[in-house]
Subunit: 231 residues, 4 copies
């Protein structure tokens, strides 16, 4: 995982699968290549192989189960997504919550398999507890802002700053901010406040010009990094 | 769906994905072609496209969610599995139970999309209630026998006969029997008792010679059908 | 259970427990006695004994689990609620959905214990499937109207008439209508459309004069019954 | 909460409710009074009031939900258990797992209400993450030993010592050990290894002479404390 972390969650929109899902991956890849930035797409389990075979950007699953191999009909295990071509996965998204023990099970196996992991939480108070399970990153997203078009950067900057304070208590885990991120300015602010990147979904997946929005995102991220003296 | 219904549930074994998962599909296809029988494979969501592109036999998902398209991170919707190349899906497996309202939501959308559906239940008392939701088939499986090697045909034949009585109360829904099916004799008995076919998992997926076991299954099914005056 | 069925779901409001919860039970009992009508209160598990000891009206639990006696920390079993003084329970409320197999487990034990049962569903299509499990009654409630103040009687009368058609396919199960029931007229219409009674929650629990609202409910029910030639 | 912490989880055995449940509470109270030790009983929600009214020992619920007051049919909220007479509650028992966000919601409200809380975990790796949510205590219990009669003290002492190391990373949270605790020696060892007490269920609830077993437990605890220079 590289900073700035920009993660596009496909969710399950009309643009998330089939031909349109593949076109979206191409668009994301184009922006990533043009800006020399890593942009992650988290796609439906059924799309992992097709997307991973077509583009060079990292492909994530949207969820993995903690169960081991065996009699677990319908489970999406770490082994399955790795085999399909994923580099990692989201876990515990507010639309797919997991229990803590299941998450620890999944994360242990993901580490063994060399898979990256982004654990979502809905409040800064859960950042440090989740970080103790050693995922690659924690993504903090106030659920009431998800899909709202009102960004966490503007509406609740204190969530990001508190989350940044919390993540510093545990070494080696990135902090990503999300919910309502729709403009380059939102990305800039989120990163100026100390986050290592952003997650977004509808702002890209439902955009008329996703390429343009994404380019703004990357530029906002780069500007913040430069001002922070990074990159 | 054609009688005899023979459904191989891949679950999530070592043989269920990657190269070995594809080889298994080839083996199943070979038996299907040689015996002019339809054999269904229910594969992990990540495998649907790869299996469907390689073999001509019907490919099912192991689970679908009832949620509509939209902000549902991690959901496997009917639209997703159809796009991936599936012809249908299992629902409500004992290892992935669903709520009744979610099942009705999923089944309504599956019918619109032309997808087949096999709803699993753990007791004959649930056969008629589930059949009223109009899936393609109901699969009755006493969970204590799943993976046991002791077949429902031998250990609990009354489950099958009661289930057959129940399914007749609703028109146009197939009845499949499962749990512990390991031999051609098990398949023969299950179908002589009135079921339209069988579901199996470990007996095939963990077999040293899956082709041989599957061939026995088909022969047992054909023998039962002939004696019943069908086919 | 007696027709008209009038069921007051306490839920977990400020008025649902402690002194206020007991006062509410007294008010409901008063209306029941004055009108010689049976009115059921479904109270939190922690309140069952206190309410049942104080009033003569039937007391229900709001939920029971399907698990048997044993190592099931936190479960509310049929045995527990019977011991506490309950005459029955709601099951599968939209705010506490259950799986079909768990419901069948719970209902079988409830029948043995002589407990009444009201299974909630969110659509008429689930009325017959649930009725096949032989609860005392099925309560149909479109979830989008729950707590809305817009009654199913007015906004979606076809849900009630369709549910009445469905319940007739199974013998000996009552049909109750709910969601947004706030006036005597709502009760009257729901019963004229063929239901055996109504369920309500916020209209009573949050009312300034619950006694007055409840009295209207009962009068609406009696008027409908008289016109239907019942009672 | 006082050290040694001895917590008797009633679960839902035949002895857990009604007359026998009350008798058990009397027995526990007797041992508590005779030994001047605090012994907690965690009883079914339906029993809280009856037990709390009859004995002077602390009564816990076995589970609380994180939802606020309102339209939450079937929920057991912190307000409900406090009103019923509970002094605290178990949370996240292996038989009733909760999501992390729900637990944080519940714990925040419990603290405001002055309720104690014992959060269960199945592995030492979750001790620190849970402790960060500031419950009164964390109870570590390897689930494979629960009800086994083989104690964590003997079979997996390293779970206790690792858990003790973990709990020390967070100030002001007790560490309780559980699973298979059946003798005074088990309690002694668990506390010598650094835990603040033990949780037990079947060893007491299914005992022919619960009083005798419990007295042994307390004596084991006192002996460990004396050797540790505490009490």
């Amino acid at each position: 995982m590289k900073v700035p972390i920009i993660l596009v969650n496909y969710k399950v929109y009309e643009t998330s699968y089939g031909k349109r899902g593949l076109e979206m991956a191409k668009i994301v890849e184009k922006v990533a290549l043009e800006t020399s930035t890593e942009i992650i797409v988290a796609v439906p389990a059924t799309m992992i192989t097709r997307v991973a075979e077509m583009v060079s950007i990292p492909v994530y699953a949207q969820h993995v189960d903690g169960v081991p191999e065996g009699a677990h009909t319908g489970a999406i295990t770490p082994e399955l997504i790795k085999d399909a071509g994923a580099r990692g996965s989201l876990l515990n998204h507010s639309e797919k919550r997991m229990r803590m023990d299941e998450m620890d099970d999944a994360l242990k196996r993901m580490r063994k398999l060399g898979l990256e992991s982004v654990v979502c939480v809905d409040r800064y108070e859960l950042v440090a507890p989740m970080a103790l399970l050693k995922p690659t990153a924690v993504l903090v997203e106030p659920p009431e802002l998800i899909g709202s078009g009102i960004s966490v950067s503007k509406a609740r900057p204190e969530v990001i700053t508190s989350a940044v304070d919390e993540i510093r208590k545990v070494e080696g885990v990135y902090l990503v901010a999300g919910a309502g991120i729709t403009s380059g300015e939102d990305v800039y602010v989120a990163m100026k406040l100390g986050s290592d990147g952003v997650g977004a979904a509808s702002a890209i997946m439902k955009a008329k010009e996703p390429q343009k929005v994404l380019l703004e995102f990357v530029n906002g991220a780069i500007r913040a990094l430069e001002e922070r003296g990074g990159r």
